[in-house]
Assembly symmetry: C2
Homo-oligomer: 545 residues x 2
């Protein structure tokens, strides 16, 4: 017997309608690629998104067609989020930080029909345009005055194209399982593969993002979205902000510490989300300006994910900024909320040292994400905080496979998605990432976590960044090599680093060697590109051989 409740599809268009109706005057502040700060409102974004929908219609875009973006966080990108998906097309956010050859691969693979791009990317677009087989129109997201002088066919100007449209448009109604957006994984471990989100998965994920047990997005906040809108839908926050009418602050390409700091202060930002690398830039700016007191920002919380939060980062936010750190683990494939590090009530009584250990775990399970850790045979392992295994996840906002079946059928027998990560889970359901399965160092049948070693190394005051990779070893199969970037102006020796580690990790985990480099290779989303690093150190001979 079916219930008798209204059968309304969950559609992304309902979000922008809600925001425009109940929070019409709430501001959306963008620092544009052109340089200046632009101010609009939720009603303004709704109007622009309807103009986008009309423009797409004019360009011949059909339901299901992919619309590409190469863009920073701005009100224009926001209007595309709602205008493209709302009208039934698929928003394909292309990560501009990928290598150019990955970008044309992705755009061709997705068969994007039009490509919207910020002027920052004009040279890139000019370079790849001849290689793009399906793109019929290129739209520079700017006004006439800033139009780039590039040689690209069918080049249109945002302000002219969009500005000429009516802001009246009736959002279509369709099956909520319809594809809404497409995002390729960042390519840390291989060729990018497309994750095709649906309106349903996005809406359920959005609802969960409001929960105080996750990111607690609310109309009371002012959120600065540093996490890029070109990756994993900026963790879903553009949608969540619309659902409750939050003021959004969008920094565009201006992610250097000085710009982020100033925008945070000027707009009274209370919550901000980003990956560790951008926070490192903010810290760098604060260090260089000892007169600043970050508490003046009034920042209450920061959401951090995509890579592990170090103890130093946690303590700096807590002590120097007076802000709570909310770590999350997730993937492009998980929309991305997977687990979130909100403490439990019972933790209030713990001594600081114990508390920190829990805070540094990636987080605990939220409703909607079933977790399990399994051994090589797929057998579930206990949740004792010690046993580690391959992490598999299941739920309504987790992918069932990749676009165009790349990688074949990926789910396990119980319908779980294998994440490629290795983790422990403790009795309270807190997950701790040991490593990526591909990065873990397999030493004599046991596993060494590169993440743990990196975190231990980074707690040394002279270490700016650290990466650990496995180097082939005749006796142990693999042994860890620690690669270190020193802090500017600081000195530290191989022996000092190893002595520092000795006090912090098991003896047999100690790296067999330490190499110092000027910088580490990073992926488009700020992760250490270990494939590249392994390539770099292919010829390295460990002193222990």
């Amino acid at each position: 017997m079916l219930g008798l409740m209204q059968d309304r599809p969950l559609l992304i268009s309902s979000l922008i309608e809600h925001a425009a109706t109940f929070h019409p005057a709430t501001e959306i502040v963008s620092r544009l690629p052109e340089g200046h700060v632009h101010r609009t409102t939720w009603r303004g974004v709704r109007d622009t998104s309807k103009q986008v929908a009309n423009a797409l219609k004019g360009l011949g875009i059909q339901p299901g067609d992919r619309v590409g973006t190469l863009a920073w966080n701005s009100y224009r990108h926001l209007a595309l989020y709602f205008g493209v998906s709302g009208s039934g097309a698929v928003l394909h956010t292309v990560n501009p930080r990928l290598f150019p050859e990955q970008i044309d691969y992705i755009v061709n693979h997705a068969e994007d029909q039009v490509l919207f791009f910020d002027i920052t990317f004009a040279p890139l677009v000019e370079k790849i345009a001849p290689l793009l087989k399906t793109v019929k129109h290129f739209i520079a997201m700017t006004d006439r005055a800033h139009m780039p002088a590039i040689n690209v066919p069918n080049l249109l100007c945002w302000d002219e194209l969009i500005g000429a449209q009516s802001n009246q448009f009736t959002w279509p109604e369709f099956d909520e399982r319809t594809a809404s957006s497409l995002c390729y994984t960042s390519g840390t471990t291989g060729n990018p593969k497309g994750v095709l989100y649906s309106h349903r998965s996005t809406m359920l994920h959005t609802l969960m993002e409001l929960a105080p047990d996750t990111f607690g997005v609310s109309s009371e906040e002012t959120i600065m979205l540093i996490v890029p809108m070109f990756h994993a839908n900026a963790w879903g926050t553009p949608y969540a902000a619309a659902m409750v009418g939050t003021k959004l602050v969008l920094p565009g390409p201006h992610l250097d510490g000085a710009s982020v700091y100033a925008l945070m202060r000027d707009e009274r930002v209370t919550f901000s989300q980003g990956v560790p690398t951008v926070w490192m830039m903010l810290f760098g700016y604060v260090d260089a300006n000892p007169g600043l007191d970050p508490k003046e920002l009034g920042l209450k919380r920061v959401g951090i994910g995509g890579a592990a939060v170090s103890r130093a980062m946690l303590e700096r936010f807590e002590n120097q900024f007076g802000a709570e750190v909310v770590q999350g683990w997730g993937m492009t494939e998980t929309s991305p909320i997977g687990v979130i590090s909100k403490l439990l009530k019972k933790h209030a009584a713990l001594p600081e040292e114990e508390l920190v250990k829990i805070k540094l775990k990636q987080g605990r399970g939220v409703w909607g994400v079933d977790l399990k850790i399994v051994d090589e045979e797929g057998k579930s392992l206990p949740w004792d905080g010690v046993a580690y295994g391959h992490l598999h996840v299941r739920g309504p906002w987790i992918t069932s496979g990749y676009f165009k079946s790349e990688g074949g059928s990926v789910l396990d027998a119980e319908g779980y998605f294998p994440t490629g990560d290795v983790a422990t889970i403790d009795p309270d359901g807190f997950l701790q990432l040991v490593d990526r399965a591909k990065d873990v160092i397999k030493s004599g049948g046991e596993w060494i976590s590169s993440i743990d070693l990196e975190n231990a190394a980074m707690s040394h005051p002279a270490v700016a960044e650290a990466a650990v990779i496995g180097i082939a070893h005749p006796k142990w199969q693999e042994r860890p090599l620690l690669v270190v970037v020193k802090r500017p102006g600081q000195e530290v020796t191989r022996e000092q680093v190893l002595a520092h580690l000795e006090a912090r990790v098991a003896k047999w985990w100690l790296p067999d060697d330490v190499a110092f480099v000027a910088e580490l290779p990073h992926t488009a989303t700020g992760k250490i590109l270990k494939t590249k690093l392994r390539e770099q150190f292919k010829q390295h001979v460990l002193p222990t051989i």
Copy 2:
């Protein structure tokens, strides 16, 4: 083109599994009808709910069968919430405060196959059992020692029936639109009609209940659920609490001020939900014990709905308890979240007098509930805070009609449900209830709000409760009659009440007469039963005729 996300149905069973997995030791505290305080945990409730599922199977309950409950808030009722719906049957929560003839009407109409009841209701069950045509088993929710000595066929004891079952059970998977629970409206305006919720509607409503912009249910809270689980699923809070593992405190039938106060204090309750009448009882207790300081409770927020919040109540909670009031408007037909009175950020700057006016509005729209106010012809009226009209609502947790098509097809041409309430909506989307369409006083072509008059009368210190009804008038069609219950030990005259009103309402709104009574008739859910009151004053002749 469909998205490629996992197609998992939204099922209520996933809630209790989540709570048991991630919050196994979080307490569920019940003060039972037997008198004592009982403690279990989310894992305990999960185990009991699986025993319930096995017991239902043993009793021959099929998917879709209705399972009735006549019960207070307790862990047993909570286990039924998950065990019945989780196993695919329909939980029919019967409101024990209805008149006995309404109860047997409802149980027969729903065709309940079994009836679970608290021992408080043993006499009632004995009385109506012979009239119940479909109930095959009666289960007293107690242990052997407390089994009531009543003459009811097929009487079973909870502890024996449930305790004998295995706590292993695999929840079935099925269409999320499957009916999950059934609740009849409280009968304020006519014969009760059944609202048939689905798993989908319940789950979406539950997700929204986590939002800080609604009730913000989280694992940080300890929630005392005073709103009854036999009405509108206790505002959905049992589900929301499971979704994030909140500690629940369930007061059973012990709703007198002294009991509520003691339980709140002992369990360190931070948030509590209830209708105004129960809060009046709590205030009565505090008044009678001037030595008490309610701030000792540590209560942070109260959720109030079902009837208007008076200014006195708002201020008392804020000043004497130090608790924020979160008013909501909703109906059995809306799951029940309709609108919620969370202030907007911009209100922070308002002077206290302006702020109070906004706080006393029923609330603003939340995502998932489309609102409109329409005139008699169904034409939409402006949101200017002045124009009032019939309130219509639409969304995924709003009913599309009643069980067994009672009342016919109810939606308007745009798919909105007409609420029977009359309201204004201001430019910020805050809704203010003018009245029920049936209670509004139609005076010379204009409407007078009985609610506004009642609130104005109740602000007089000697008035305990007030109700206004329309009395037929030859010239004006209807004119208001004010019916007043005086505070114990206080005196006030007709003239004094009218003088008090004169300063507060428009002249032509002034009641034509004031009647003093010892008490007002109430419905099962604590609302003034105006049908009964009109009946009582049928013969009343206004002095103005």
